[in-house]
């Protein structure tokens, strides 16, 4: 069986033998106890299970974990929902990242199942806008396109959208 290793939330994971049949989400849940990533549809439709993969060339992408095996993440650098908030010395989260804070303040979610996926994708959007700001008038379309593949069955997207729009507009340098 191949040995799997990767970097998750800046922590190098010890190589371990993993069956090629194990999906990434199972690996996170059952082998690493990282249960923040949620299993939604299991068919790559809802995007609840998305995590961030940071590539060596400096680009990042949001990748589904329910339909890709753990081995497809071999050697990659990954961020999950557990990695966003700042933690104290004991490992407790003490400050949410701006996206998490905006979603919480705006009551963007109810059951919260889709939130890790939304948070990861929105975090990527913020990082992208820091590098390449866009015109204010294009922002709403840009957010819609960015979050388009994420499904939510509680709040109807409006609050996620509003939280993210307000956050982006409140930060300098993200829009022109």
């Amino acid at each position: 069986m191949p040995k799997l290793t990767m970097t998750i939330n800046n922590k190098q994971i010890e190589p371990m033998e993993i069956s090629e049949e194990i999906m990434m989400i199972e690996y996170l849940h059952e082998y690493l106890n990282l249960t923040g990533t949620k299993f939604g549809c299991g068919q790559g439709e809802c995007s609840a299970c998305e995590i961030i993969v940071d590539h060596k060339d400096g680009t990042s992408e949001s990748v589904k974990t329910c339909i890709n095996s753990a081995l497809t993440f071999q050697g990659k650098k990954i961020r999950t929902i557990e990695g966003h908030a700042k933690k104290n010395a004991k490992g407790y989260a003490v400050k949410l990242n701006p996206v998490q804070e905006a979603f919480a303040k705006q009551f963007s979610f109810q059951c919260g199942w889709c939130t890790p996926g939304f948070t990861n994708r929105a975090t990527l959007l913020l990082e992208e806008l820091e590098k390449n700001p866009i015109k204010k008038e294009d922002l709403r379309t840009h957010i819609s396109e960015h979050l388009n593949s994420h499904l939510c069955r509680c709040t109807g997207y409006v609050k996620y959208f509003k939280a993210l729009e307000d956050l982006i507009l409140s930060k300098k340098g993200l829009t022109l």
Binding site: P2, E20, Q43, K64, L71
Partner: protein, 405 residues
């Protein structure tokens, strides 16, 4: 009382009989129009029913379907039966020759009786005033008179003749597939004049980015289709041998899912050239070869939906084991689904399969994966070289680009 009875007999009874006869004819026409799928080609996205405006992308430019509602000005409401017959059988409309995007090279086989029913139905539908869109055809193909010559060479005026040594069921299928169903318009390759190549009937064809697969009985039998499988794929859009995709999906939705079981069986009987059910074979799964470079690609990206052993998920994801789309010498549709993914496919109001994401594999990965899928889930016994896969990929991408422009 007696007088009343006489009055009823003389005046009202014939009216009731006529109305009932008309209703029966219209109902029949409505059913036949479903087989011919008039709605799909003559109803634009968010447009009025039968209002036309659906674009047909051809090498010569875009042709737009026309309004065929019963509106006397914008539609065909002013057509006499003879004019309607000519449009269907000879490709001649009131405004001149029709472009062969209208499948009159198949419809010429429709019987008079069925044409009458279709006419009765089309004249009964709601008039829609949506204006026809001008075609965007380049010179010299925009000169409709040239179509007369095309028709002389490519259009037959023969009537449908049942094959004497075949059953009624087979011949009903033959009639439906080749006339109303106009299956050959996509599934038969076109010749240099862009007409159906009669020598290669139903051999399969690359059209608007997709492969309309071979429907020849030899190929269908090699792929181990049964009559039941064919009826299932036509009725539901999916079967033990896989699903339809691309432009076939709306055809299932608007047309074939509404066709009677009896007629679907007849069509399957014609396609498989058999009145009786053929032997049902187990779905092919040749076991995994864990040393094959395609194995980790398969388990990495395919198994969560298509299953460890290619079994799929009922009503959601097709099985790969024994899948006919995989079981072809040139697996272009397989490659196409990998490169472009598939949107949710809605086959009827109650049946829909899930989407498939697109994958950006290297050519080497694509070669390994396709070879692995064919080796594991079919008995076709072909191993493609990297160069072959690159050529297929080019063909797929070119086909898709042409379809979009």
């Amino acid at each position: 009382m007696k007088k009343l009875t006489i009055l009823w007999t003389i005046f009202l009874f014939p009216l009731v009989v006529c109305a009932s006869k008309d209703t029966t004819l219209i109902k029949k026409g409505e059913y036949l129009s479903k087989i011919a799928d008039c709605f799909a080609c003559h109803t634009a996205d968010k447009g009025e029913p039968y209002g036309g405006g659906v674009p047909f992308i051809t090498p010569f430019g875009n042709v737009y379907s026309t309004n065929i509602s019963s509106d006397k000005k914008a539609g065909i409401g002013s057509y006499t039966y003879e004019e309607f017959y000519d449009a269907l059988h000879k490709g001649i409309g009131k405004h001149g020759n029709l472009y062969p995007a209208m499948p009159f090279t198949s419809f010429y086989l429709i019987t008079d009786e069925d044409t009458k029913a279709l006419y009765a139905y089309m004249m009964s539908i709601k008039p829609v005033s949506q204006k026809n869109r001008d075609n965007e055809i380049s010179f010299p193909f925009n000169i409709r008179a040239g179509l007369k010559t095309w028709n002389l060479v490519n259009l037959s005026n023969e009537k449908f003749v049942p094959e004497e040594d075949k059953s009624e069921k087979y011949n009903r299928g033959n009639y439906l597939i080749n006339s109303l169903g106009h299956c050959g318009e996509c599934h038969t390759p076109r010749n240099s004049m862009m007409a159906m190549d009669k020598k290669r009937k139903l051999e399969g064809n690359l059209i608007v980015g997709y492969v309309a697969p071979s429907l020849q009985s030899v190929e269908l039998r090699r792929q181990e289709w049964t009559l039941k499988d064919l009826v299932s794929v036509m009725k539901n859009g999916y079967s033990r041998r896989g699903t339809v995709l691309g432009h076939m999906t709306p055809i299932i939705y608007h047309s074939l899912s509404n066709v009677s079981h009896e007629d679907l069986e007849a069509m399957a009987s014609y396609l498989l050239d058999s009145d009786e059910e053929v032997e049902t074979k187990a779905l092919t799964f040749n076991g995994h070869d864990k040393k094959d470079p395609g194995y980790l690609l398969y388990t990495g990206y395919c198994t969560s939906c298509h299953g460890i052993n290619g079994e799929g998920i009922p009503n959601t994801t097709p099985a790969l084991a024994g899948n006919a789309t995989l079981n072809t010498k040139k697996p272009l549709n397989t490659m196409l689904t990998i490169i472009y993914g598939i949107k949710n496919e809605r086959y009827s109001q109650t049946n829909a399969f899930g989407h498939m994401p697109s994958y950006n594999f290297t050519d080497e990965e694509m070669t390994n994966l396709i070879n692995y899928l064919q080796k594991t889930f079919t008995n076709i016994g072909i191993k493609h070289s990297l160069e072959e896969i690159q050529a297929f990929k080019e063909e797929v991408i070119k086909g898709m680009e042409n379809a979009e422009h």
